[in-house]
C-alpha cells in the first residue's frame, strides 16, 4: 500500500514538474510571438470603422459625451504639417480611469492605440500618432464602467499613413 502511494506521488510530482517547465518555457518567450500576444486585440486593430473598433475593443459603443476631458491634437492644436507624427495630449478630471483608446476616423484602421492604466497612472498623457488625411481624432476614456468620448478635428498637410 505504502509503495503504491509512493508511486502515485511520483506520478503527480512528475506531472507537476513538466507542467511548470512548460510554463517556464512559455514565460521565457521561446514560443511564437503570435501565441504570446494572444491578448493583442487583433479584431479591434483591424476594424475599419470606429464603431467596429470600439465594439471589438470594449464590447460596447454607447458613449456619453463629456467636457471633463481636455484633448489637444496637433501643434498648433487642430493642425499638423506632417501626418506621420502628430502629437496629442490628453488630460481629464475624471477619476479611476481604466482605459483610454485613441482613434483616427479616416485612417484605414481607425484604432491607433489603447492604453490600460493602473490607479498609479495620472494624466496628462502625451504621445504621437499618424493621421492619413483631414480627420476627426477621437479619444475614448473608460472610467468607472462608463465611456466618455471627446473628438477633435485635425487638418493635415501631408498624409502620414504611407
Amino acid at each position: 500500500m505504502a509503495k503504491n502511494n509512493m508511486q502515485q506521488r511520483r506520478a503527480i510530482l512528475k506531472g507537476a514538474i513538466s507542467a511548470s517547465t512548460l510554463a517556464l518555457v512559455a514565460a521565457s518567450g521561446l514560443l511564437l510571438p503570435r501565441q504570446l500576444l494572444a491578448h493583442w486585440p487583433t479584431d479591434a486593430f483591424n476594424a475599419e470603422t470606429v464603431e467596429d473598433a470600439l465594439l471589438a475593443l470594449l464590447g460596447q459603443a454607447e458613449i456619453a459625451d463629456d467636457s471633463k476631458v481636455n484633448f489637444k491634437v496637433g501643434s498648433p492644436p487642430s493642425y499638423a504639417i506632417n501626418g506621420a507624427s502628430v502629437p496629442f495630449q490628453l488630460e481629464s478630471r475624471l477619476k479611476n480611469i481604466e482605459r483610454i483608446a485613441i482613434l483616427v476616423e479616416k485612417n484605414p484602421f481607425p484604432l491607433a492605440m489603447s492604453l490600460e492604466l493602473s490607479p498609479a497612472v495620472k494624466l496628462p498623457i502625451k504621445s504621437m500618432i499618424k493621421i492619413r488625411e483631414d480627420s476627426a481624432v477621437i479619444a475614448i476614456i473608460r472610467a468607472e464602467g462608463k465611456l466618455y468620448k471627446t473628438s477633435r478635428f485635425v487638418e493635415v498637410d501631408i498624409g502620414g499613413c504611407g
Binding site: L37, F109, M113, E116, P124, K126
Partner: protein, 105 residues
C-alpha cells in the same frame, strides 16, 4: 534591423509625482508604404508596451500601425520616490523585443 537602436527612458520626480518620458527607437512600418523599388515594406510595428514601477505593473499600451515612428510617450505616476525603478518592455509584431530601464531622479 540595420542601425543599432536605442530606447530612451527618463523618470523624474516633480512635486509629488513622477514624470516618465519614453522614446523608443522603432520604424513602425504600417505595411502600406513602398520603398525606392516600389515594393511594399512589410508591416513591422510595436504591438505591446508594458511599464512597471518597481514590481508593480502600472501601464500597458497596445499599439496599432497608426502609432508614429519612434514612439514617444509621456505620462505621470502618482507619488513615488527617488530611486524607484521604472522598467519598460516592448514587443513588436515580428517578435522583436526591447527593454528600457531607469531610476527615478
Amino acid at each position: 534591423m540595420g542601425l543599432p537602436r536605442k530606447d530612451r527612458i527618463r523618470a523624474k520626480l516633480k512635486a509629488e509625482d513622477t514624470t516618465v518620458r519614453v522614446l523608443l527607437s522603432h520604424p513602425m512600418h504600417t505595411g502600406r508604404a513602398k520603398n525606392e523599388a516600389e515594393q511594399l515594406i512589410p508591416a513591422e510595428f510595436i504591438q505591446d508596451i508594458r511599464c512597471w514601477r518597481n514590481d508593480e505593473e502600472v501601464l500597458s499600451i497596445k499599439c496599432g500601425t497608426a502609432t508614429a515612428r519612434n514612439p514617444y510617450f509621456s505620462f505621470h505616476l502618482v507619488g513615488g520616490k527617488q530611486g524607484d525603478k521604472i522598467t519598460l518592455r516592448w514587443v513588436d509584431n515580428m517578435g522583436a523585443k526591447g527593454i528600457a530601464e531607469t531610476v527615478v531622479k
